[in-house]
Each structure stands twice: as C-alpha cells, then as structure tokens.
Symmetry: C2
Subunit: 266 residues, 2 copies
DNA sequence: TATCGTCATGTTGTCAGACAACTTAGTGCT
DNA sequence: AGCACTAAGTTGTCTGACAACATGACGATA
C-alpha cells in the first residue's frame, strides 16, 4: 500500500521521452522533488501513528527500496523530520519516533483540512496573539517603539491615499506593535503568522478592498490602536486590536455562508 | 573567519586517540553531528544577514570545502533550511535567501538569549494563547470536551493527593481546553508550547513544588477554569487562565530578582 | 549457573565520484 | 538587434564504500 515507487509516480524524463512517441501527454508537472515527496510520505505515516512512540522506523535502506529512491533522498527527508523533532536517530541503532514533548517546530500546514477553514483558524490564532501583544505594547512601549509604529501608520495612510498596495506597511505596523511588547518570542511569532497570510492579506489592499472600503475602515482601527498604545491603555489596545481582526473573520464567515447558499440553489 | 573546519573542531576518534597518550581528557562529549553543526553555522550566518534577501549562497561544493565536510552533509543542512523556508533552491541555479514572507516553521530557539529570559518570554506567549483558548473553549465546548477536561482535572487531583507527578495530567488539562476551542491550529500551538517546557514544568510537581504548595494553588485555579468553561463564561475563563499563568511568571521574576541581589552582594 | 569479554552482523554517519536535469552566460550567425 | 546554439557551472539523484556505533550471540571463566 505504501510501497509506491516515487520515481515511477512522477513523470521522469526518461519515461516522458518514451511516452512522447506514443503521444501521451508530457510530464509537465513535477510538483515536488523526490525529497519533498519522501518527507511528505513519512510525515503522513507518522501523523497516522503507523509507528508507535519510541518504535523503530524501517532502516534507511528499506525505506529507500520501498519508495524506489536512493538512500541519499531518504536521509535528507529524515534530516527534516529530525529537525522537526518528530524522530530521533542513533548511529548504529536506527531512527525512532520521538514523543510529543520533543516537538521543535510549529507549522501551520495541514494535510486534510479545507484551506479556507484553515485560514480562518490561523486568523483566529492571530487575533488572540496580536491582541495580547498590543496589550503588552501599551504597557512597555518606548519612544522608539511608538515612532516605529507611527511610521508604519503613515506609510499605510500614504498607500491609502494613493490607492496603492499597503500590505507591506500593514505587516510592518503589526510587527512593530509586536516588537513593542519587548518579547522576542511574541514578535517572532506574530511575524511568522503574518507570513502565513501574505497573499490573502493583499485582498484588503487590492481594488476590491478599496471598493468595499475595507482598507479605510482598517486604517481607523489602526489609528485607534496606536492611540491606545501611546496612552498606555492596555485594555483598550487589546479590545480594538481584537475587533480589528474580528472584521476579517466576519468577512471570511460571510463568504463561506454565501458559498454554501449558492451550493444549495445549484 | 568562517572557514573553520568542522571535522577538526569536534573531537574525532583519531584525535582523541592521539590525545589519550598525552593524558588529555577523552572526548566524551560529541555535542552534535556534522550536519547539525553545519546547519547551525548556516542559520547563524543567515540570521546575521551575511547574505541579503534574494542573494545567492555559495555553491554546495564551496560550502563543503569551507567547512571541511562533504557535499552530502551540506545538502542535508540545506534541506533543513529549505524546510524552514529560510532558503529556496533552484536546480542548476543555486540556493537563494528567501524573504521573510516564506517562513514555514516557528521555533523558539534563540542563539544569543539568556535561557531564563527566553523561558519567561515563552511563558508569556503561552499565557496569551491559553487565555484566548480558554475563552473560545467556554463558547464552543461540547459535552465530550467537558468530559476530557474533567478527566484531566481528576487525574491531577489524584496526583496531588498521592503527591506523585501530575505534570502529564497538567499537560493533558491545558491541551484538552485548547482542543475545546475547536480550532486545530490553536490546539496544535498550545501543545507545541507545552512541549517547550516539559522539564521546567515538572518543578511545579516535584518535592519543592509540594512544599511551597504551588501545585495545590494551581489545582484550585484549574477547577475554577473548568467551572467557567462549563458555565460558558468566556470572560471569566480568560481571566482566571491568565492569572493562573501569571503566578508562574511571578515565580520566575522573583527568582531572577533574588539572583541579581545575590550577585550584587558577592 | 551466572557473568563478562569478544566478535559478527546490521545500521547510521560520512565521504567520494558519477551522471542527469537545469540555468546561465557567452558565442556566432542571420 | 535578435536568435539559436554551445559550453560551463550548479543542483538533484544514484551508487558504492568505509568509519562509527549498537546489539545480540557465543564462548571462556569463575
């Protein structure tokens, strides 16, 4: 079942050349490298608890043979899993499934979930963390922090007036607030969460966004958040930041509702 | 400066054998594998902005020669960096520094920071997220969720009465609440943050913890959090959860204060 | 019998070389 | 200038080899 040959699966040049004569479609799509594929397979099997915690995985040789790839490919895939803290390897012994207390990295990827649902969930997490960060920022901000936030605010205003893309300034604004919390982990995490969006956030700033006026509503939120942080009002900063993201959540829910309605009438 | 040879650096068997005659201490500690070391070096150089965003890294061959390791080692290290989203590689072209919008994984590790300070920062992040999760849990919990939380609560109570280690049940309690938020990203992240602690959390449950009564105070917090979630009181669940973690933060600050005082008198 | 070395075997860690697939820059032709 | 073509350089993958280490079997010794 899981012994599918990775090489045979994707279109290799040799196979493609052979098929070209028969008129079969060329192997245009090479979605991932062999290492990527091997990594996905192994991660999937780990998530499915195919091997218990502490149990030994098959040897690199065996894994390579079952997937039809060389040991080098398997080793690079295992290196990733080890970096994620999902497995531990001991020279001469083998690779073992590590328990959950060893997780070393957080990723938002999810094999099975609906992408929209996933985006909603990330946004909700973002809402919590950014509101908390805004609260801390109100308590700890320095003059330099305020200046950084203000600069980003002005960049966004300029973008808004020229109807150009302000998503970068938007990012900078939220990151500046997170940094003002003077907690590098929070700052790093907000930056990370922001990166998980980059494309979908642009929707706020494109033509549609301007048409609906999302961007300008957002801007008044931003100004209010800044004022609260400047005034040192943590509760207020948290509240406004929270409701600011809530608007984005509501938009997602509204779109989802519209879609399901459409589906019913189809 | 950065052309140090990794192989020469760590204690290789050959070198150890040579030193054995001179009476030098044996190379007991083999801290990391070559791949780990190479990964750290490259990550450090990336964090130091040695190469600009979009800039091309040296070739695998060159990197291998400058670190004194084979291409295979470099490739596995680069595989990790690529998995983290720090670089992108194009076959035939090279490896390039990717911009911050591509970050694929969040790690708490920090090269330079004081470990205690880092623990405090993670705990603060935890405070924010867990309080938010508790709030959502109060709004969305099902009967099954409540049962899972209650089970963990009872496990902790049993551990408390038998004065045994309840850190696992403690973990289970907070994870059950996070799952009750019905947001898999939040649940995954709470689980992740919990894993970043596992050892230091045990302090709450060891002998010292019992002596000071930390565990029993925590237990009354836990019970109150459960009640609030059961009652659907989101604000209350958030508030208690927040102050629950605040106690742990205060303990850290107190320890830090004591240490600095001691340092002064030394 | 129980314990302790020793050894054979298997596995991971690392190295070296080779070729395929691909990019890039240059070269020469039109 | 623009184009096809070539050549060199780079990453992706494969293969084979050896070192370092773990583990269990075996036999010697007390």
């Amino acid at each position: 079942m899981l012994s599918d040959n990775l090489v045979l699966e994707r279109g290799v040049a040799k196979a493609a050349a052979a098929l070209a004569e028969t008129g079969a479609l060329p192997a245009l799509d090479r979605p991932h490298s062999l290492v990527d594929e091997a990594y996905r397979r192994l991660l999937l099997q780990l998530d499915m608890n195919l091997w218990k915690v502490g149990e030994k995985l098959p040897t690199e040789k065996a894994l390579g043979e079952s997937l039809g790839v060389s040991r080098a490919v398997i080793r690079e895939a295992l290196a990733r899993l080890r970096a994620d803290g999902r497995i531990e390897t001991r020279q001469g012994a083998g690779a073992f499934v590590s328990d959950r207390t060893k997780i070393a990295a957080f990723r938002t990827e999810n094999h099975d979930n609906d992408p929209i649902q996933q985006e909603r969930e990330i946004l909700e997490l973002r809402q919590i963390v950014e509101a908390g960060a805004a609260g801390l920022a109100a308590e700890r901000r320095t003059k330099d922090d305020l200046k950084a936030i203000r600069d980003a605010l002005e960049s966004m205003l300029a973008a808004l007036e020229s109807r150009s893309d302000g998503s970068l300034a938007d990012d900078a604004f939220h990151n500046a607030i997170a940094r003002a919390s003077h907690n590098t982990q929070i700052a790093k995490f907000v930056e990370f969460l922001g990166a998980q969006f980059s494309d979908s956030r642009k929707a706020t700033w494109d033509d549609i966004g301007y048409g609906v006026g999302i961007a300008s509503v957002g801007q008044s939120d931003h100004a209010a958040i800044y004022k609260a942080i400047e005034a040192g009002d943590a509760a207020k900063a948290k509240r406004i930041s929270h409701s600011h993201v809530q608007r984005a959540l509501d938009r997602i829910d509204q779109q989802t509702a519209e879609r399901t309605t459409k589906d019913k009438h189809r």
